[in-house]
């Protein structure tokens, strides 16, 4: 890492850390307990940002996939993988925390609620994406095939959301949120989203850096063998 990159990295980490501390303070001390659902509602402040940033991560995969296929620069492929990885980690957390919340709020671990189902489908799609990357060894082929998947998979998102939503309105189920949020709750949510956005950027840049390093080392080894 060069000097400026390092500086930027430290600023980002500092900012992320400060935001995360602020987020934790607001979630557990500042914001009042929800009257209807009780303390467990505090899951919401991390659950929702994780879901949004997870979705953003897959959108980044989509954009980078298009950029790779048009520009053929391997750097877009590397960013796409890094983003997909973080997206899968975050979406896994969304599903797990969502499940815990469902158990606490409705007494069931899982319900085929529209959002839960759509998130689950999304999770499967990007796990498949990462698996394909694992199964293709040649670099440019892997980049090409996974870029196609990154595009095809993301386009499915609105259709899945629509289908699942209509499917569930046929069998009315519990909705996650009715009515607005109190200002203090909204403020907490915004800080949490900011914290997770910065955290996402840090994870993706670090992961990208590592992947580049990996490629470099492998190439050096290969060039030595030749």
């Amino acid at each position: 890492m060069d000097g400026r990159g390092a500086l930027r990295h430290y600023i980002l980490v500092g900012l992320g850390f400060a935001l995360m501390v602020a987020a934790l303070y607001m979630v557990f001390i500042y914001v009042p307990t929800d009257k209807n659902t009780g303390a467990v509602q505090r899951i919401f402040y991390f659950h929702v940002p994780l879901a949004w940033i997870g979705f953003l991560a897959f959108f980044v995969v989509f954009v980078c996939s298009i950029l790779y296929l048009t520009k053929r620069d391997i750097k877009w492929d590397v960013i796409a993988t890094a983003s997909a990885e973080v997206g899968v980690v975050f979406t896994s957390l969304v599903l797990l925390t969502g499940s815990i919340w469902a158990k606490a709020a409705w007494g069931i671990w899982w319900t085929w609620d529209a959002r839960l189902t759509a998130t689950l489908v999304l999770w499967f799609t990007y796990v498949a994406y990462l698996l394909v990357r694992h199964y293709v060894t040649e670099d440019s082929q892997r980049a090409r095939l996974s870029a196609v998947l990154g595009i095809v998979g993301f386009i499915d998102v609105p259709i899945v959301a629509l289908a699942v939503m209509l499917w569930r309105t046929q069998h009315p189920g519990a909705m996650i949120f009715e009515g607005g949020l109190a200002p203090s709750m909204l403020a907490t949510l915004i800080v949490c989203i900011a914290a997770f956005t910065v955290f996402y950027i840090i994870l993706v840049t670090q992961s990208t850096r590592l992947k580049n390093m990996e490629t470099d080392i492998r190439d050096i080894k290969n060039s030595k063998i030749d």
Partner: protein, 61 residues
């Protein structure tokens, strides 16, 4: 008061995953460092030129 166990479980899982992923990245970085050092030793302290060179031919394909 109510359901604190669930709240605790949710945040424990979140941090476990996050630290797990960060640790995974850290572990990978350490392994790469070791390989890099090994390569540097075998090449004989002229690694920078090679790194710069291979970086450019990535997009062949």
């Amino acid at each position: 008061m109510d359901n604190l166990g669930y709240l605790f479980a949710a945040y424990t899982i979140i941090w476990a995953f996050v630290f797990g992923y960060v640790f995974f990245l850290y572990y990978k970085q350490r392994k790469l460092r070791q390989q890099m050092d090994l390569l540097k030793d075998s090449i004989g302290e002229q690694p920078n030129k090679d790194v710069a060179k291979v970086n450019t031919d990535d997009n062949a394909g």
